[in-house]
């Protein structure tokens, strides 16, 4: 009898453990299934096109824009910057090879105990070679990121949360908590608009689904009139719900990027992109 009770207790503990601490892979599969069921018309691989994957009328307009992509100048500027040697004679290629490295980011650095994004790595490359870091968000750094993303088109999103490093899982969990928490005076969570609300209209704008959200950065956004990085957009979203935004490359936004990118594992990087 006692043995049975003990066995039951172990079973119960294991069951509640897995319910409470579903791993990143369980999260991802549920996330993917949610969106593929919500938008059965959209093939899974097409979610990297954001709103245009679920809204045929705006897709038409977007395809026209893509014929003369507004991000092309940025790729060119990024290429020039890439080819121009640093003062010490070295260059970005000494850090990133041919630049087609988008698929390696973001990653958890177990030695440093932090998340390394591609934009962070670009600045670290500069600083290691005696150059000033660039401003995150827009401008030159977005150009270099655009060039590298362009060189990396078609690479698979493949974020790894090392299982043997509890700090990595904790960072992932913080990103997840951020994504699902309401904040700001208007009291919205990311998931409110881009989960259950995705596909709905806010005035004339249709809300995009979260799956594939991270694939196409940096983005030329017509509303900005220039290029911006993923973290610039995070900041804009936060301010829209009337929360104070965090700085690009802050721990909060890097954790958010880690979580959100993990959710799109298996899809392809297709940056840079163009959006309304």
């Amino acid at each position: 009898m006692k043995k049975h009770v003990a066995a039951l207790m172990v079973l119960f503990a294991a069951a509640s453990w897995s319910m409470l601490f579903a791993g990143p892979e369980d999260d991802r599969m549920a996330f993917e299934k949610y969106f593929t069921s919500k938008f059965p018309e959209t093939p899974k691989h097409d979610f990297i096109n954001g709103i245009y994957s679920i809204d045929p009328p705006s897709r038409e307009q977007w395809l026209e824009i893509e014929e003369f992509p507004p991000y092309e100048l940025s790729i060119d500027a990024g290429r020039s910057a890439w080819e121009k040697p640093f003062a010490n004679g070295k260059g970005y290629a000494d850090c990133f090879g041919d630049g087609a490295v988008r698929g390696q980011y973001p990653y958890w650095d177990s030695g440093r105990k932090e998340i390394i994004t591609m934009e962070l790595a670009i600045n670290e490359c500069r600083e290691a070679n005696g150059e000033e870091p660039l401003k995150y968000g827009k401008g030159k750094l977005a150009d270099i990121s655009a060039y590298m993303s362009f060189m990396s088109r078609g690479q698979k999103i493949n974020v790894i949360i090392p299982e043997d490093d509890p700090d990595a899982l904790a960072a992932y969990e913080r990103g997840k908590q951020f994504y699902y928490s309401k904040r700001g005076q208007l009291n919205f969570a990311c998931i409110d608009c881009h989960g259950s609300g995705s596909g709905n209209l806010v005035r004339a704008d249709r809300l995009s689904p979260a799956l594939g959200h991270v694939s196409h950065w940096p983005v030329y956004r017509s509303k900005w009139g220039n290029m911006g990085t993923l973290h610039r957009r995070f900041g804009g979203c936060n301010r829209q719900v009337r929360a104070a935004s965090f700085k690009p490359q802050s721990p909060q936004y890097r954790e958010l990027e880690l979580f959100l990118t993990y959710m799109s594992n298996g899809l392809e990087y297709n940056g840079p992109g163009a959006r309304k």
């Binding site: 005076q185 009291n187 919205f188 409110d192 608009c193 709905n200 209209l201 806010v202 005035r203």
Partner: protein
């Protein structure tokens, strides 16, 4: 003397009633007008971003259309509570807590309720 008192007693309430009734009607109209203004103001109610409402163009569809409000909310207080703090009924509601978070003032909450009940 007695007659005079009677006149005053009789006329008094009438005299008091007449202008007050007019004031109340004006105040109601003013509140409805204020409510409409606040409801449409993008920095305040911005109801149109999620609800089809009145003659507003390009409405969103996150929330239900705001029609037949009197029939749907026979109890004024239920409607007021939903605008003031929808989290009380559902903590996951995507509707902003307009009163609780001071997005609009107490008076503006009342005005929106007055306005919505005319729809």
């Amino acid at each position: 003397m007695l007659k005079r008192i009677a006149v005053v007693v009789l006329l008094g309430p009438l005299l008091m009633l007449a202008p007050t009734a007019g004031l109340v009607a004006n105040a109601d109209e003013a509140m409805v007008a204020l409510g409409k203004e606040v409801a449409f103001d993008r920095r305040k109610g911005n109801c149109l971003s999620c609800h089809m409402m009145d003659n507003g163009s390009l409405p969103g569809n996150q929330g239900p259309a705001l029609v037949a409000m009197k029939a749907r909310f026979p109890d004024r207080e239920v409607l007021r509570a939903q605008i003031y703090n929808p989290l009380e009924k559902n903590p996951h509601s995507i509707m902003p807590p307009f009163g609780l978070h001071g997005i609009i003032s107490e008076k503006e909450v009342d005005a929106i309720v007055d306005y919505l009940l005319t729809l």
